[in-house]
């Protein structure tokens, strides 16, 4: 398979429950003591019905809030995220995998009690030469929607393989 064959391929889909325990512990791990993440009264004073999300929470959300009983059908057909397959292939010849860039686009605030529906796909793969080494960039986009089907957060994840 050439790189182009991977572009547009799904990387996975998750139903995510946004819950207070994971949100408050995640904020605490980031040294963020803002009471909006742990105190319902502080969240209400800040304009929410329940604690909101720290800006990077969705990046970890498949680990934090996905449960077996309501997951969507696996769009990869059990193959798993093709991004990982691409990187494993490149790593056969050595090198290093780096998180190059990360973007979050926020469309609507998310708060505890919300259920998110995340769907990812590969949007680009390209190579560049830098200091005589081949750098391979794999870009994945994940869109999280609310129960009404409206996008709330879009993540763009850029993973780099730096050849030996």
């Amino acid at each position: 398979m050439s790189f182009d064959d991977f572009i547009g391929k799904p990387t996975g889909a998750n139903t995510i429950h946004v819950e207070r325990g994971s949100v408050s512990r995640f904020a605490d791990a980031l040294t963020d003591s803002n009471p909006v993440y742990s105190d319902l009264n502080a969240a209400k004073e800040a304009g929410f019905d329940a604690p909101p999300l720290p800006p990077t929470w969705t990046f970890a959300s498949a680990f934090l809030g996905a449960y077996a009983e309501d997951q969507p059908e696996d769009p990869t057909g059990g193959e798993g995220n093709p991004m990982m397959k691409i990187m494993r292939g490149l790593m056969k010849d050595g090198g290093m995998v780096l998180h190059g860039e990360q973007e979050f686009q926020y469309h609507q605030p998310v708060q505890c009690g919300d259920v998110l529906h995340g769907e990812g796909k590969i949007t680009d793969i390209y190579t560049k030469e830098s200091k005589g080494k081949v750098m391979t960039f794999v870009v994945m986009e994940t869109v999280f929607k609310n129960d009404a089907g409206e996008p709330v957060v879009t993540e763009i994840f850029n993973l780099i393989h730096r050849g030996k």
Binding site: A46, F48, P54, P55, F63
Partner: protein, 142 residues
């Protein structure tokens, strides 16, 4: 329906304004806590023995911890729930013992269909001024 309180006053914001700095000395406990809270158990971040066996001087920080720490400084400044965009490029690894400091500098403001938007350049640097990540954010103002 969430209606986050806007902390920034659009009319009072000017290009070059800086947000309050958040400084934090990175510890191995931070790395373990972030691993547990995010599910990123890459041993290069949490297992000193494995990291040294791989030729590294020690464990090193998760890039997403750095982005989260800088994100904390953005929400401290603009208020939780008021980000429209947050984009970074990771430039260097972070190491336990380094003191990481945030820098947020306003680069512009405009009234858009989505509200009054303030744009800023954001960076995280260590005690020697070495940049660990740099990027931009767009936040809402009143």
């Amino acid at each position: 329906m969430a209606n986050p309180v806007l902390k920034l006053k659009f009319d009072d914001i000017n290009e070059g304004d800086e947000a309050p700095v958040v400084s934090h000395e990175l510890t191995r406990t931070d790395l373990v806590k972030y691993a547990g809270a995010s599910g990123d158990f890459n041993p290069m971040h949490s297992d000193e023995v494995a990291a040294q066996a791989a030729g590294l001087p020690s464990v090193f920080g998760h890039g997403m911890f750095s982005m989260g720490l800088l994100g904390r400084a953005i929400t401290d400044w603009a208020g939780a729930g008021n980000l429209k965009n947050y984009t970074v490029r990771f430039t260097k690894q972070t190491w336990p013992g380094e003191t990481l400091s945030t820098k947020i500098v306003v680069t512009g403001k405009e009234e858009t269909d989505e509200g009054k938007v303030v744009t800023a350049e954001v960076t995280l640097v260590n005690q020697d001024g070495e940049s660990k990540l740099s990027g931009t954010t767009k936040v809402l103002a009143a």
